[in-house]
Amino acid sequence: MPPIPTEPAVARIQPNATPPELIRNFCIIAHIDHGKSTLADRMLQFTGVVQPRDARAQYLDRMDIERERGITIKSQAVRMPWAVVGEDGTETPHALHMIDTPGHVDFTYEVSRSLAACEGAVLLVDAAQGIEAQTLANLYLAMENELEIIPVLNKIDLPAAQPEKYAEELAHLVGGDPADVLKVSGKTGEGVEALLDKIVETVPAPTGDADAPARAMIFDSVYDTYRGVVTYVRVVDGNLNPRERIAMMSTRATHELLEIGVHSPEAIPTKGLGVGEVGYLITGVKDVRQSKVGDTVTSAAKPATDALGGYSDPKPMVFSGLYPIDGSDYPALRDALDKLKLNDAALNYEPETSVALGFGFRVGFLGLLHLEIVRERLEREFNLDLISTAPNVVYDVTMEDGEEVKVTNPSEFPTGKIGEVREPVVRATVLTPSEFVGTVMGLCTDRRGQMQGMDYLSEDRVELRYTLPLAEIVFDFFDQLKSRTRGYASLDYEPSGDQAANLVKVDILLQGDQVDAFSAIVHRDKAYDYGVLMTAKLKEIIPRQQFEVPVQAAIGARVIARETVRAMRKDVLAKCYGGDISRKRKLLEKQKEGKKRMKNIGSVEVPKDAFIAALSSDPSSGKDKKK
């Protein structure tokens, strides 16, 4: 009997008419590059929902950026049929819902909602690399959600694969026997059928009350140019059907249900969704903020009384100023952000102006990758050339007189008598080969980390847990970690409240005038280092003026570092005879044109490019974060 259900069997698993015991909801937890999308592609193929001729790599990743970077930003849910044949030869069809979760630390909340929509998780680990910190964090998240974990080693076809070694590591982590760890190759397809059987066998069927008022949890919400917002839901109780209005329990807003269906993997409208089923809703709203991840959907006519737990508003953790390099692109940037916002409930922004950079926006992000993705989409999809200021976190400042100030832009750090400054902290997990333990501990200590614990995952792999200020992570921590461990260490972190800290604002002054884009809030012990770094950098970048220009770093009125751009002594062409005049005039015209592109900080003329150079060479841009 083939594992793809026969026609009579398929009739038993029609959407809105599938008994919960024939449904399996699972997700795949994996590190970037560990082959999740390839495995998912293979499952689509083996279950017959994608014909080989339609197959393309990373079928489910729809955004260009997702496919290019090999990461998933928005989650997906696909319904696949799969039959198992019992010992007595009877065929039992099942509807599998695979929820492809976002795989990055910035999107932990989205991950937690995706996990909440499942009863089981495939823990997919590269057999040549072992588990990474981010996977570990998501694994813990899945275990907290009481998901059934199926440990799987992928890429067993690779010559460098060490399935025995890493099977032990996985068994150690999830508890169990190394022999129970499945071994597959997404590339060759080896072991994939066994995995599908295993999912049916071990993942619990969903349970819910079919007669109760409808309750469905939103685990993702995507803006589509043609269809408006497409909302992904998992029905917990009751039934949603296309004839009734629905209500969002957090806002009490009601919407017409224009379409309801499942993806398999293309959208297929259905007559509804029943208990345990995963599918999509279209209501005609145009903004994902009206259909928030974590919210509960119910029937407007017969609403449930209690929302499903776990809803929270996305909270930006990292802020950065985004400025168009060409000032006339400002309206285009505003329009582009407005459009991105439709599809990104976590994105928020306010206009701001900078003396050095002109008009732009202060934008809040979930994290560095979120920042990078937004920036890349703005540049790529909207053709904007942007410069971003060094990312910073949010500080809560309490003045001595009790006034409280929330600081999202360092240049707005209050002057005057400050009582206390609080900064966000994170619980960070670093996985590293044991030879680098000392190095990693050094880095964490240097970044004001507090060690919380350390475990050997295997003989040569260690898990280190630290509490670290988020600001330290935002400032080139990841790059440092990678370079100091030759790329072997991996990092994950999650917000963990805040702490009071001895923080000061360091301003950078050109001839006494503050350059707002370079102000930074740093720990008092690091202020001098930052000052020296920035003044030295600017000294190299700022062209010589007709007068000497001091470049200073200061805390309040106290100068902590100083460099000097020496006065320009010569700016004249020695020879200017008959044959030189046209050329010389054109040179001057060009220089005068260049002068128009200068920014004035006080009387110092600085080419806009210089600020861009100073900001772009900043190590905290979070590049290669994905690796």
């Binding site: 320009m568 200017c576 005049i581 005039r585 001057l588 005068k592």
Partner: protein, 425 residues
């Protein structure tokens, strides 16, 4: 070789736009003639001038035939100027430059000068200069030039230090300098020495020695130029390959200041950023004509010419016309042979461009720029430039009831381009 500027095509007959002419009011502009002689025995590593070392360039362009070709352009110039209705003006200054004009037999230079004289006449007291390489003159060749009407000679001395001359690939013997100066003065010629500072490897002491040797000859005029390594020269390649290291601008500034100091001490005052003379009569009048915006005709391959409009005008592209000849002597000869203008292109200056040139050139002079020439924004910039020590405060106030002028201080001379940008902002 510097590329020719971008311009608009030159009419075949070289005709000038009808609006050029002498001003209807005020003093007339002088008329000068420049003659470019595009030959040298060797090309120096730093040189980007339009010059050739071969005696025979083919197509009728040879050193021997050059004078004859130049005479044709004099004839063309006379016709073009007459056709546009410019009143005939006697020539105030003639300047033979190069290349090395003295590569040609003195007789050839004399033939060209005679034709200029025969065509337009020389104004009373006209200045006639030739550049010369110190090793291509003799007492008798200098006497021949003086007898034919030359009044001035400018020697390319560059440096008194053999090591520096070697880097520049100059072949002359520096020991000859005092001799050639004496010969020229004995022949009754005014003498200028050209110096270059900032050659890779030149120390401040080297430069001081060159200045000392130059002033010790008692010359009445010195030009001193910072070395500029132009792209495409052999020296630029040497710098690119790291064989030579360019001095930085601070070094060049220090050397400029030393030059100004030593030359002033020797009785030579600056009258233009890179030129010093003992008295006003010793200044090079031909070059002053460029800086003062007078008219000139450049004869020879690659030479530029300029004729201003009759009146400052309505803002269109009709404030003056500048054109330039084709660069290669062979194409130059061919054009004249065929009765065509050798002009390669030209530009019709707008009022804004003419204004920028006037400020850019006028400010380089010790006599300065009449502040009334400046537009209001430029006049407003004067006070700041005085405060920053770049313009002379007394001159800017109009000392003794004289017209106020923008005159550069020594520091201002080194930052003259910045001053021009401020005055024309």
């Amino acid at each position: 070789m510097p590329a020719l500027p971008d311009g608009v095509p030159m009419p075949d007959d070289g005709a000038l736009p009808p609006w050029v002419g002498t001003p209807r009011s005020g003093g007339g502009r002088e008329f000068g003639v420049y003659v470019h002689v595009p030959f040298c025995t060797v090309r120096c590593g730093y040189c980007d001038f339009n010059t050739y070392t071969a005696a025979e360039l083919g197509g009728g362009a040879s050193q021997a035939a050059y004078a004859g070709t130049a005479l044709r352009e004099v004839e063309l110039a006379a016709k073009v100027l007459a056709d546009v209705g410019l009143p005939e003006r006697a020539v105030s200054t003639v300047f033979f430059g190069g290349g090395t004009p003295t590569m040609l037999p003195a007789g050839d230079l004399v033939r060209i000068l005679d034709r200029v004289r025969g065509t337009w006449g020389l104004a009373p007291g006209a200045e006639v200069t030739t550049e010369a390489n110190p090793d291509s003159v003799t007492p008798s060749s200098l006497e021949e030039l003086a007898a034919a009407g030359f009044t001035r000679v400018s020697f390319g001395m560059q440096s008194a230090v053999p090591r520096v001359l070697a880097t520049l690939e100059r072949t002359h013997d520096p020991a000859r300098i005092p001799d050639v100066v004496r010969w020229a003065r004995d022949a009754g010629l005014r003498v200028s020495l050209d110096l270059i500072y900032g050659t890779p490897g030149e120390t401040l002491a080297d430069w001081r020695e060159s200045l000392d040797v130059a002033t010790a000859t008692g010359v009445d005029h010195v030009s001193a130029y910072a070395l500029v390594v132009e792209p495409g020269t052999k020296m630029a390649a040497q710098v690119r390959r790291g064989q030579l290291t360019l001095p930085d601008e601070d070094d060049q500034a220090a050397k400029y200041e030393l030059a100004d100091e030593l030359l002033s001490a020797a009785g030579l005052g600056w009258y233009e950023v890179s030129n010093w003379a003992r008295t006003a009569e010793d200044a090079c009048r031909h070059n002053l004509a460029y800086w003062r915006g007078h008219d000139w005709w450049g004869i020879g391959p690659g030479a530029h010419s300029y004729v201003a409009a009759a009146e400052a005008d309505d803002g269109g592209a009709r404030a003056g016309v500048r054109w330039w000849n084709v660069k290669h002597p062979r194409r130059y000869a061919a054009a004249l042979e065929a009765g065509r203008s050798p002009g390669a292109g030209r530009e019709l200056l707008t009022a804004d461009e003419a204004y920028l040139e006037r400020v850019m050139l006028g400010v380089r002079l010790a006599e300065g720029l009449d502040l009334r020439v400046l537009r209001p924004s430029g006049r407003q910039a004067v006070a700041g430039l005085v405060a920053r020590g770049l313009l002379d405060g007394t001159a800017a106030l109009g000392p003794g009831g004289m017209a106020a002028r923008a005159v550069l201080t020594r520091r201002g001379r080194l930052l003259a381009d910045a001053v021009v940008r401020d005055l024309t902002a």
